[in-house]
Amino acid sequence: MNSSEPNLYLWLIPLLPLIGAAVNGLFGRRFPKKIVATVGLVFVAAAFALSAWASVQLLHMPLDRIPYIEEHLPWITAGGFQVDFSFYLDQLSMVMILVVTGVGFLIHVYSVGYMEHEGGYYRFFAYLNLFMFFMLMLVLASSYLLMFVGWEGVGLASYLLIGFFFLKDSAANAGKKAFIVNRIGDFGFLIAMFLMFQKFGSLNFSDVFKGASSLPVESAGAGILTAIALLLLLGATGKSAQIPLYVWLPDAMEGPTPVSALIHAATMVTAGVYMVARSNVIFNRAPIALTVVAVIGCVTALFAATIGMAQTDIKRVLAYSTISQLGYMFLACGVAAYSAAIFHLMTHAFFKALLFLCAGSVIHALGGEQDMRNMGGLRQKIPITFWTMTFGTFAIAGFPPLAGFFSKDEILFQTWDSPYGSKILWAIGLVTAGITSFYMFRLWFMTFFGERREAEHGTGHDNHGHANDGDHVHESPWIMLVPLAILAFFSFTGGWVNIPKVFGGNNLFDHFLAPVLSAGAATAEHENPGLEMTLALTSVVVASVGFAFAWLFYYKRRDLPGKFAAALNGFYTLVRDKYRVDELYNRLFVQPVIKLSRNFLWQQVDVGTIDAVVNEAANSAQHISNEARRMQSGNIRSYAGWVALGAAVVVAYMIWAGLQ
C-alpha cells in the first residue's frame, strides 16, 4: 500500500462488534440491562458509521483503485500457499457492509425492546454482536478461505441464536438441524476451495478471478470451472436455504424474532447469493452451472411460495417467503444478472427485516401468540405496526413504486431477456410473484382485518415470555417502533436507486455494480423499453390478482378457504405438511445414518474395535504389572540379594572380558 492511498481502516469494521460481543459475553452477566444494550448498540453503530465513512471514501476513489485491498498479517503460509488477513472492499462488498451494519443496527435497536422481558439478555446481545463480526468478515474477506471463516462463524452464531431458548427441545433441535444441514453445504464449499487451489494456486479473490478469466468459457462440456461453480453452489444452497438444503430455515424460526429478521431474512441467508455474485467470473465461464443455479432458484421460489400459502404460523409464512425470495436472487444469478440479484438482496433485506420485525411486534402485542388463526382485527389496536407492515407487504408483493417492485421486476425482465434466461423460467417466476402476493396479503388480512379470534387453535409457540393475559393487546414501545418506521421508509424508497430507463430512471445501482459484476458477462442491455414496460405491467397485474384472491378468501368470504381446502383435500394437506420433505429426508438420510451409526459405527467400530483395543491394552498392562510386582517384595534382604547378584554378574563379565 503506498502512502498516498487513503487508509480505510477496514479491519476495525468487523472488530468493533467483536469487542462488543467480548464485553457483553464475558462481563455482561453482571451488567444491568441498560448497559448491556448500550454496549451492544454502540459497537454496531460505530461499525455502521465506519462502514458509511469507508463507503464514501470508496465512492471518491478512482475506479482503477477499486477493489481496495487492505493487507495485514499473513495468516497461513505453507509452501506456495499463503492466506493473509486482508480485507477487500469494492462496490459489491460496500453494498453488503452497508446493508449488514445498517439493517443490523436497526434490528439491534428493536431487540432492546423486544428482548426486555427475556432471560439471557446479555447472552443475546453478545451472540448478535458476534454474528455481526462474522458476517462482516464474510463480506470483507479478500480470499475464499477468510470468507469461509466468516461463513462458518455466521453458521455458529445462527446455531447459538436459533437455540437461544435452549430449554425448549424444539429450539435446541432446530439449532442442531440448521448446523448439520449447513455442514453439508460447507463440504461443497471446502471441496471447491481445494479445486481452486489446485487449479489457480491461490485462494485470493484477485488471483482466482485473474486465473479464471484467462480460461475459456466451458460451453462445450463441463470442466474444472463447472465443477468449482457447482460445488460453490452446493455451499450456497446450504447457507441460503435453497433446494435441496432449505429444510433448516423454517425450523430456524424457533429463535427469537429479531434473530429471524437479522440472520434468517436480511443478512446471513443472503451470504450464498453474495458468494455466487462474488464468484461471477467463475460462474460466467460455466454455463451449465449457471443453468443449474437458475433452475434451483426458480424451483425453490415456486416450491417455497406454495408452502407459504398453507402455513398458519406467522413466522413460518415469512420463513417460506424468505426461501422463495432467495430463490429469486438465485434465479437472477443464474441468468447472469448479478446486479439484479444484489439489488433484490438489498431491497429484500429492508422489507423482509421489516416484515419480521412487524411480526415480532404483533407477537409481542399478543403475548407470544404466533398462530394467525388466533389473530385478526389488530388494525386499530396496533396501528403503527399495521401501517409499517402494510408498507412491507406491498413492497414484497411488488406494487410500484415500492422497493420490491423494482428489484423483482428487474429479475423477471432479465430472466426473459438475458441470453442465459428463458421464457419458462420467467413464467414460473411470474406465477411465484402472484403466489407471493397472495400469501402475503393472506397474512395481512388474517392478522389485521376481521375480528379478533381468540385461541381457537390453542396457543402457538409461547416462547415470548409475556403473561398471556387475554385481550390486553398493546402497541410496542417506541424503541421497537422507530426501527420499523425507518425500515418502512427504506422499503418504500429503497428501490429508487435502480429505476430502469423505461420509468425515467437510469439504473444507477446496476451501473454502480457493473465494474464488479459484469466483467465479461453478457448481461441483457436495457434496450427494449416496450418489452420491459409490458413485463412490468404483467407482474403488477399478477400481484393484483394475488391481492384480489387474498381479499376474497380471507376478507370477503372467510368460508371459502375451508371449502377450497376440502375440495383439494389431498393436495392441501400435502402442501400444509410442506410436501413432507422433512419426512422424506428423515426416511432417506437421517434414519439410515442413525442405523449405520448405531449398528456399525457404535457397536462394531467404537465398542468392538476402539474400546476393545484400549481395554485390552489396559488389561495386559495390569496383568504384566501384577507379575512384575513380585520383584518389589518389600523384603530388604531380597533387594540386597538382587544387588549382589547384579554385582556378581558385572564382575563376572569384567573377568571374562579381561580374560579374552
Binding site: R629, Q632, S633, G634, N635, I636, R637, A640, G641, A644
Partner: protein, 100 residues
C-alpha cells in the same frame, strides 16, 4: 613382603562374608555390622593397592570411607533405636510398613 593377591583374597573373603551376613541375618544390628564389614573389606583392598602402586590417593579414599562409615554408624544406630522403640523388635522382616 606379603604379595598383593593375599590381601585381595582376604578382602574378597571379608566382603563375601559381609554380603552373606547381610542377606541371611534378620537382626538389624548384625546386618549393620555386616555393612561395616563390607566397607572395611573395601578399605583393605584400597590400602593394599596403595602400598602396591606406591600411590597415596587410595589412602585418602580410605579416610573418606571411614568418615562416611562413622557418620552412617551414628545415623544408623539412631534409626535402629527409634525402630526398636516403636516396633519393639529388631527383626527386619517385621519392619515392613512401606510394603504394599
Amino acid at each position: 613382603m606379603v604379595p598383593l593377591a593375599y590381601y585381595l583374597g582376604l578382602s574378597t573373603i571379608l566382603f563375601c562374608l559381609g554380603v552373606l551376613g547381610f542377606l541371611i541375618k534378620r537382626n538389624i544390628i548384625t546386618i549393620f555390622i555386616c555393612i561395616e564389614l563390607m566397607l572395611n573389606a573395601v578399605n583393605l583392598s584400597f590400602v593394599a593397592f596403595s602400598a602396591y602402586l606406591k600411590n597415596l590417593n587410595a589412602q585418602v579414599f580410605v579416610f573418606f570411607v571411614m568418615v562416611v562409615a562413622a557418620a552412617e554408624a551414628a545415623v544408623g544406630l539412631a534409626i535402629i533405636i527409634a525402630v526398636f522403640r516403636t516396633r519393639e523388635t529388631l527383626n527386619v522382616d517385621r519392619v515392613n510398613l512401606l510394603k504394599l
